[in-house]
């Protein structure tokens, strides 16, 4: 039983690293790859947690994560990138270096918030919570800093990963959470897909500049 803590810690660290290095990427393809790695690690973590807590439903979670997020979603997004020919770099709102600094600050905040709060909870949960909170915040940061719709979607998905990571860490949490996360991701992907096509009908690119133009007109 002395092995599960470092392993979980390691996987969490990997997931966090993926989320963090997403900030530094300018190319969509690279971001998608990072997301895939993150998702795969997450599924591994879910399996490991299931083994460690002896909870069967976590295996299912891991499976869902592996299939949908680790394989299907990246494929779909690569499709979109190909079709819309968006291999070129997308520009970010703030310089990359600055966004990295912000990311570090966010991680610091997450630790600051979580560590003192969970003095009573088990150490495993504490680690997971800090890490997953950082992942969530980093995902939001990516959404905030990227001007490109796909990039925002990726940031959103990485946020979801952080949620699942937290969920796997919850000892004995009923299945509701995982189910709904999966549901959310499915629906999210569907709706986003619909959107992308529609937006393609109206704007030639996925950049939100066109939308921002609409918004500029006072209403």
């Amino acid at each position: 039983m002395n092995l599960d803590y470092p392993l979980a810690h390691l996987m969490g660290g990997v997931i966090l690293m993926c989320a963090f290095s997403m900030l530094s990427q300018r190319r969509l393809a690279a971001m998608i790859t990072l997301y895939q790695v993150q998702a795969l690690t997450l599924s591994a973590a879910a399996f490991w947690q299931g083994f460690a807590q002896g909870a069967g439903d976590l295996y299912l979670t891991g499976l869902i994560t592996l299939v949908i997020k680790g394989i299907l979603l990246p494929m779909g997004m690569r499709q979109i990138v190909q079709r819309f020919n968006m291999v070129r770099a997308v520009e970010t709102a703030v310089p990359v270096g600055f966004s990295m600094i912000l990311g570090v600050g966010l991680i610091g905040i997450a630790v600051l918030v979580v560590l003192p709060t969970t003095v009573s909870a088990v150490s495993l949960t504490r680690e997971d919570l800090a890490i997953s909170l950082s992942v969530v915040l980093l995902g939001l940061l990516v959404m905030t800093l990227r001007r490109n719709a796909i990039a925002q979607v990726i940031g959103f998905l990485s946020t979801e990963n952080g949620l699942v990571l937290a969920a796997t860490g919850m000892p004995g949490m009923p299945f509701v959470a995982e189910l709904s996360v999966a549901l959310l991701v499915l629906l999210a992907f569907l709706v986003i897909g619909v959107f992308l096509f529609r937006i393609r009908e109206h704007f030639d690119t996925l950049d939100l500049v066109g939308i921002e133009e609409i918004e500029r007109r006072g209403r």
Binding site: V113, V114, P116, T117, T118, V119, S120, A121, T125, L129, S132, L133, V136, L140, M143, A149, Q152, F156, T159, E160, G162, L163, A166, A167, M170, P171, G172, M173, P174, V176, A177, S180, V181, L183, L184, L187, A188, V191, I192, V194, F195, R198, I199, E201, H202, F203, G210, I211, I214, E215, G218, R219
Partner: protein, 484 residues
């Protein structure tokens, strides 16, 4: 038997059928029929609250009945909306639209009746997705943009809410042990003091942001005005009234957990500060955003932000009286706002088209010249939003202000300022909207019978606060006392 289950699942199960079969008229009729049946169920819930995972406490009963009532009246005026045929949609989209109306209704009721924080979350998520699809239905650029905005911001909100939900579970799990018990409101409320206070506080922040996005509190309000302005207006009515209520009630329940834990020395922080901050922000930003709106639906979207801000402010003040005031405010505001949107829909239809984008004030002004009754009704609704008597909002705002003075005198200054500014910005529009010069070639027309229902709702919104039935009074007071 437990009447909550049919009330929740009938619309949800019927939605796919409506989405696949039927002409648009049939769809509208089926929509209406389902709403009527569900209204019957929700009234029955008063006598059969049921028990278990999905059951109705007093709060659920009252607002469930209110929800289905508003949905029913909206569905009735929806008939006129459909038959006027202004909204040019393909048949497929009409089907989707009606299906989505049902999904919104079902998941809203689920959110009200669920005794499980996970289920509550699922319900809100479902309602969000349905509303998103609805908003995007008319494929204009601005509609898509509004829906996109709604999806991104709403999705973030949902994510935060889920995180908060899990944190609540984590806080409860040591005390209540793993399993469903740690996620049920009743169990949580019963053992509120035994929860891990600091973790609960963290959870509350995330829940506040998650459900606050749905309640459109500043600064989480970005999606609301556009979603209102671009969606089909019957759906907008549902959004403006029902989803706001669900989100606000969720916030109220979690606030109660935290307050009880704080009072019991569980180590949680006082929730008031967070709520007061967001409430005042909503109030004050709205006060200055209202004045330049040219589109009526955006305008009233902002006024919805204002009113949910007032409700959250009341929850933040705390104490039975303030909670009572907040709930009364939500109740009356729901009635008035839905009546207002139905009157707007009718008025825009009289002025040519009820399609989104035809709701600019310049297009609607001088309504009394199109139809006297409708003009007065519209003016009455807008006037009622200002909270001047005899509007029922006067009673609730009176209670809230008085409680603020007694419990927290200093925040009453920004509160009063915001209320006055908003009321002035709203009342400015009554004159032109009702008595102004109508656009050329306006002739007097019939308003149709459906409008009388809106009139009834407005009358309820005026009367219910001043002559409140005793059972409602008791129910609301006990809820307020329980959730203080």
């Amino acid at each position: 038997m437990n009447l909550c289950l049919p009330a929740v699942f009938l619309p949800l199960l019927a939605a796919p059928a409506i989405g696949v079969f039927g002409t648009r008229a049939q769809g509208a009729l089926a929509n209406l029929a389902l709403n009527v049946i569900v209204f019957g169920f929700t009234v029955g819930v008063f006598f059969e609250p049921g028990s278990g995972l999905i059951h109705a406490d007093d709060l659920g009963m009252i607002f469930g009945a209110l929800t289905s009532f508003v949905c029913m009246t909206t569905a009735l005026s929806n008939l006129g909306f459909v038959w006027s045929g202004n909204e040019v949609l393909s048949l497929r989209r009409w089907r989707v639209y009606h299906a989505m109306c049902q999904v919104v209704l079902g998941s809203t009721l689920l959110g009200l009746y669920a005794d499980n924080i996970g289920l509550l979350w699922v319900a809100v998520e479902g309602a969000t997705i349905a509303a998103t699809v609805g908003v995007s239905l008319s494929r204009t650029a601005s509609a898509l943009e509004a829906a996109w905005k709604y999806f991104i911001l709403g999705g973030v909100g949902i994510a935060l809410a889920l995180f908060g939900t899990m944190l609540v579970y984590l806080a409860a799990q040591p005390a209540l042990g793993p399993g469903l018990a740690a996620m049920s409101f009743t169990a949580l409320g019963a053992h509120a003091t035994k929860l891990d206070g600091s973790l609960l506080t963290l959870a509350f922040v995330f829940l506040l942001f998650g459900y606050g996005t749905k309640a459109a509190l500043v600064p989480l309000h970005g999606w609301l005005p556009d979603a209102y302005a671009e969606g089909p207006i019957p759906l907008t009515t549902a959004l403006s009234t029902l989803m706001l209520n669900v989100a606000l009630i969720a916030i109220l329940r979690f606030r109660h957990l935290m307050q009880a834990n704080f009072a019991g020395g569980g180590g949680a922080l006082q929730p008031g500060v967070f709520l007061l901050t967001l409430g005042l922000a909503s109030l004050l930003l709205t006060a200055f955003s209202l004045s330049r709106r040219r589109d009526a639906r955006r305008f009233f979207g902002f006024s919805s932000i204002e009113h949910s801000g007032i409700a959250v402010f009341a929850f933040g003040i705390g104490g039975p009286a303030a909670i009572f005031g907040g709930l009364l405010h939500m109740l009356v505001h729901t009635l008035i706002k839905s009546a207002l949107f139905q009157a707007l829909m009718r008025g825009a239809a009289l002025r040519g088209s009820a399609a989104p984008g035809n709701y600019s004030f310049s297009h609607l002004r001088g309504m009394i010249h199109s139809n006297k009754y409708l003009g007065w009704l519209l003016g009455g609704c807008v006037f009622a939003l200002t909270g001047l008597p005899p509007s029922g909002l006067f009673a609730s705002e009176f209670i809230i202000i008085s409680q603020t003075i007694q419990r927290d005198p200093y925040v009453s200054l920004p509160l009063g300022l915001g209320l006055v500014l908003c009321a002035v910005a709203i009342i400015r529009h009554v004159g032109p909207l009702v008595f102004g010069h109508a656009p050329p070639h306006t002739k007097h027309q019939k308003a149709g019978v459906g409008i009388n229902l809106a009139g009834l709702q407005l009358a309820l919104g005026f009367g219910i606060a001043f002559a409140m039935p005793w059972f409602l009074l008791n129910a609301l007071s006990s809820v307020a006392a329980a959730l203080q």
